[in-house]
């Protein structure tokens, strides 16, 4: 034994194992992170059972069990552990809170009532209870759970269509009218600043304004009409027998999860998943979807790519193809290394000082002076955020392109020169196609970096809730000065600034999963691309 110990010590195999433990620890941590986020997020869309709990003190609770933990008992650590469960009881408008902790030992019995329904509402979160009746302007359409559910399943899609129509008018049509009216107001102001306050131009603008006003009135009338057609309402009772009337226009969907089979559950999962990706957020971002955040992230990454790729490729070509060794090359190298190493928040600060206040402020005073003191470009926006991000990701493109350039064999270039091509022609026709995959790899890595980086965006134009997307149907379609939403910031905001943390948790986990998915997917693509490339080069090199 002792000899063995000595041998281990001398040979150092124990240390090899210890070194291996360091590696396995990092692998375990990575796996734990991914799994924890995955399981926390996956619960979000899966319909949980609606449980009826009978508690010792005579209360009955209806809701979904969302968590379980032991109750800390510091005074008597030897005592057997007790547990409590977290119940999502919903009905925020009645109880004040959505979540409730119940001591497990105090639960006398549990039931799965078949007639219990979950109502997803536009406001106040979920409602848990039982259908009493459905009525329309005093006429009772149906009574009881079964019939009520049946008629609600018919009526709710109609009412949802109606709500969509209302939202379309309110957002798109009235939004456009407001946009043009604001534009006209600014143009009038501009004319006034130039000293013109009557004449043809002014008359024309005023007439346009009147027309817009009329249009606005018609839209308003349409809205009123649509709203008036929404009269049906459903009456529910809670577990405690309290009656609750919910207008149909408030209901997004109604379902009774205790009746769900596997097929229903999967269907529900998919529908909710789609809603998450395609819908707009509700209730201070804690419900609904994250579509605007996905949209903002993608658009920001695209604008960033447009700026970062050419610049990175040019710099890499300069370093590898064009530069003669000297002070300039060393300077560029140091610059690239430091660009890669400077903290992201410093880029953000630069973006604020240079892009927003210097360039944006100048643009405002030259072209948008009529809107001042309200800034147009002199405030955070998607353009400035993207430019800041482009600076941040340029080294990634440079490094990857350089790696590609290094592996293009000199023979190919010499062959091209030998048949009389100029340097530019060689670069353009021979070298560039050869390094294209490397550039692409760099670009993908840069996109992954930009998609995940939040700190510089926080100060250059991300907001928790943007009223409009940066692209819409109003000319010039792409509004680069607008603020935008971002998945990473969404996680920070909903997870840390939300007033209702418990309700927001599943939302944050799902968004996190989505962001991890995007970033890892991009990285995987880049790694695979790079590996294939290296293999190809290894073959051609021989």
């Amino acid at each position: 034994m002792r000899a063995a110990f000595k041998k281990v010590w001398n040979r150092g195999d124990g240390f090899i194992w210890l070194a291996g433990a360091g590696l396995s620890l990092s692998l375990i941590m990575t796996a734990a992170l991914l799994l924890a986020i995955f399981f926390n997020a996956a619960q979000f869309f899966w319909p949980g059972e609606t449980v009826k709990l009978f508690v010792e003190d005579g209360r009955a609770i209806l809701g979904e069990i969302t968590g379980r933990e032991d109750i800390p008992n510091p005074d008597n650590p030897e005592a057997p552990l007790k547990y409590r469960v977290q119940v999502k009881q919903g009905n925020r408008d009645i109880h004040g809170t959505d979540f409730l902790w119940v001591e497990e030992s105090s639960i006398k019995a549990t039931q799965l009532p078949q007639d219990a329904v979950v109502v997803e509402r536009r406001e106040w979160g979920n409602f848990y209870g039982f259908i009493k009746e459905v009525r329309d302007q005093g006429n009772v359409l149906a009574q009881g759970a079964e019939k009520g559910m049946k008629i609600l399943e018919e009526l709710i899609p109609v009412s949802n269509d109606n709500i969509n129509a209302i939202q379309k008018i309110a957002r798109k049509n009235i939004g456009a009218v407001n946009f043009y009216m604001e534009k006209n107001r600014l143009e009038l102001k501009k004319l006034k600043l130039e000293g013109i306050d009557n004449g043809k131009a002014v008359e024309k603008l005023r007439m346009e304004n009147d027309e817009l006003q009329n249009e606005y009135k018609t839209f308003e009338a349409q809205l009123a009409e649509l709203r008036k057609s929404q009269t049906a309402e459903a009456v529910f009772t809670t577990i405690n027998g309290v009656e609750k009337v919910i207008p149909l226009s408030q209901i997004i969907r109604i379902y009774s999860p205790n009746n769900f089979g596997w097929f229903d559950k999967i269907n529900f999962f998919l529908v909710k998943g789609w809603e998450f990706i395609s819908d707009e957020p509700r209730e201070a971002n804690t419900e609904g979807g994250v579509f605007p955040a996905i949209f903002g992230t993608v658009l920001m990454v695209m604008i960033m790519s447009l700026m970062a790729t050419p610049l990175g490729v040019l710099a890499a070509f300069y370093l590898r193809e064009y530069a003669r060794q000297g002070a300039m090359v060393s300077a560029v190298r140091i610059a690239v290394n430091n660009l890669a190493g400077v903290p992201s928040i410093v880029f953000g600060v630069f973006g604020v000082g240079f892009f927003i206040y210097f360039i944006g402020g100048s643009i405002d005073s030259f072209f948008f002076s009529e809107a001042l003191p309200t800034p147009t470009y002199g405030t955070g926006g998607i353009l400035w955020a993207s430019l800041t991000m482009a600076l941040l990701t340029v080294p990634v493109v440079i490094v990857s392109t350089e790696e590609g350039l290094a592996s293009v064999s000199g023979g190919i270039r010499e062959a091209s020169f030998a048949v009389g091509a100029t340097k530019f022609e060689t670069t353009w026709r021979v070298v560039l196609p050869a390094v294209m995959p490397s550039i692409l790899t760099g670009l993908i890595l840069a996109m992954a970096r930009a998609a995940g980086e939040v700190a510089p965006l926080m100060i250059t134009g991300v907001v928790k809730l943007a009223p409009t997307l940066p692209i819409d149907g109003i000319w010039p379609f792409l509004h680069l000065e607008r603020k935008f939403m971002h998945l990473g910031f969404h996680i920070y905001d909903v997870g840390f600034q939300s007033p209702n943390v418990d309700a927001a948790r599943p939302m944050v986990f799902t968004t996190t999963l989505l962001l991890i998915g995007i970033v890892l997917l991009l990285n995987f693509t880049a790694v695979i691309l790079r590996n294939r490339l290296r293999k190809k080069l290894a073959v051609s090199g021989v």
Partner: protein, 748 residues
Amino acid sequence: MESGSAPDTADRSMHSIKGLKKRLWVDRLATNFVTLGGGVIILAILAILFVIVWEFAPLFKSPKVVLEGTLDTGATRYPLAVGMDEYREVAYRVDGAGIQFFSLKTLKPLPATPLPELFKAGITSVSPSEDGFIILGLSDGRVLPVQVKFENIFSGDTRTVQPKLIPGKAVLIREDGKPVETLTHFKSEEGYSIAVKTNGHEVAVIQVEERRNMMGGVTQNTSKDIISFPVKGEISVLVFHTVENALMAGTTSGQILRADLEDRDSPGAIRNIGKTDRPEVSVTSMDFVLGDYTLVVGDSKGGVSTLQWLKLKDGKPRLHQINNFEPHTEPTTLFSKSLRTKAFLSGAENEIRVHYSTHGETQITLPHPEGQKFKAVSLSRKGDGILAADAHGKIYHWTMNNPYPQITLKSVFGKIWYEGYKEPEYVWQSTGGTDEFESKFSLVPLIFGTLKGTFYAMLFAIPIAILGAFYTSQFMDHRLKGIIKPTIELMAALPSVILGFFAALLIAPEVERFLPGVIMTPFVIAGVVLLAALFYEISDEFKARVKTGREIWVLVPLTLFGGALSFYAGTLVESSFLMGDHRTWLNEVFSVTYDQRNALVVGLAMGFAVIPIIFTITEDSLSNVPEHLKASSLALGATPWQTALQVILPTASPGIFSAIMIGFGRAVGETMIVLMATGNTPVMEWSMFNGFRALSANIAVELPEAPEGGTLFRLLFLAAFLLFVMTFIVNTLAELVRLRLRKRYRVL
């Protein structure tokens, strides 16, 4: 290429020369364009540096003062007070005869504004105020409150200032009818109080309560008190300490006395609370800076110092000296304060100085242009102008450009004794509830926070990353390495916002629950793994099962087992040695409080971000050690571990150093993790159970709310500059080391 007629050939050659020219031209253009691309990168890094420096540089600009105008009033009496409106267009001067307005634009007197309330009395003293509500002491023993009002009248786009005097009700204070000479006052929302010296040691205090009744009229309610001070010598100056409801008096024998107005009969209500250096030095001026917290005392030797009324450990509150300012050469008799900042002005007859009370620096000195006799001074409301009247009837008007008076190197990096603090401290507190809030702009706690977070992250990351890299590069099967290495590199791609979120919402509560277990984990895992290695050596069967280079398959479950064991042991330790709850135990034994989001959690999460960086670079430099070194060592009979430790490690050590440096740079600048996983409180405690506030997180939180060009805005740029410099040094150092290493490998 096909054959053609002669002219055709000539034409084509012409064409091709033209074409060649064009091609060469394109080539040159492309060269310039590509070079430009390289230049833009240099430009970018320079621009970052330049913009950041450009934005914070104005903070440290020395203030500028320009003499705007001199006004000869022709008056022969000494001025008692001066003042001006917000825009510095109209000034007033009080002397024995009354109040006269002047235009500071035309430097001419404005139409006279008689004060009929004076009757036949002259003005003998004034209690001035920067907000325009002044009290005139009269030669017949009365005091007369006067509101000097400036109305802005707009006609079209032009604005004119219309001065007005609104006299209040005169009150007879010295019933003997002698002139009022030493007085002070304060105004509150309910009314005002006036204190007047009635003889050498007695002061009369009147309180006037004004109540607006339903009809819009004002009813006044006046009460009067006499306070007798135990004075050696004579009372020379008076000032109300409004926040404590007390009256302070300075004397010709250098005493500072205090009378509690709230509770006058208790013992010690009227007592001596401070003094000048020597009894023969008398107190010649005494007043509070904005906020009524810091008392400025000027004496007959020209000294200027600030004091605070504080209760320290020894119990009774008393005046504590905070700062001494550059002294005047003549007695300090004049005082005026800014109504925006903690700046104030002190003056002797031959010069005026502008000081800032927070950091105790004298920023401007203005000698009398003709060498003689300032009698009254006033600082403008915004703190951007100074008005001074001298004994010869002249009024001087200076414009002062000092937008960031509270920022000096000392106030940003040094210890400052702030108002209400028990001792000088490093404090960051950029915004407060009231206008009178004293901003505390020390970057030291933030730098401390950044370094603390980095320290714990490195403590966690360095051993794991380097051990892992060692194993991967030296002892691992090559095919397995092809999978493991990219996996670890993918870890680096995880967005930091996700790590921060994970740390705050999942790690932090678990660490709080299993704290002893978490702390024991590295040791337990090491023990378990070493035991397993021993077992491996003894048991041939085990040895046969585990292939060299594939130990990781055993190690992952072993590590998991070690972790679980440690958590279990942790709960046992907690219940038997730590009184069942580590938080109470920590508090009772070490008096350390436990914050849920603390440096330990940040260390774990930030370690997560740093591990792949250190891992990758270390692994590269270890793998790039020339193969023949390793082979010769093994051939000489060294074991793989001995080879790794004594041949590979020394050769690659600069690479490992540069890996640590780059990891350090990453940790210093990391924002989202520290923002989310700490409480962001700027405390200076090394304890790993407390949170901190880092430079980067501070920028992310405060920059969106900082108004452009303001002090905070520029200070955040300074914070960014510090981050830039820190990472620049670290990165450049790492790059230089790596270059040397590459050269060394080439030689080998």
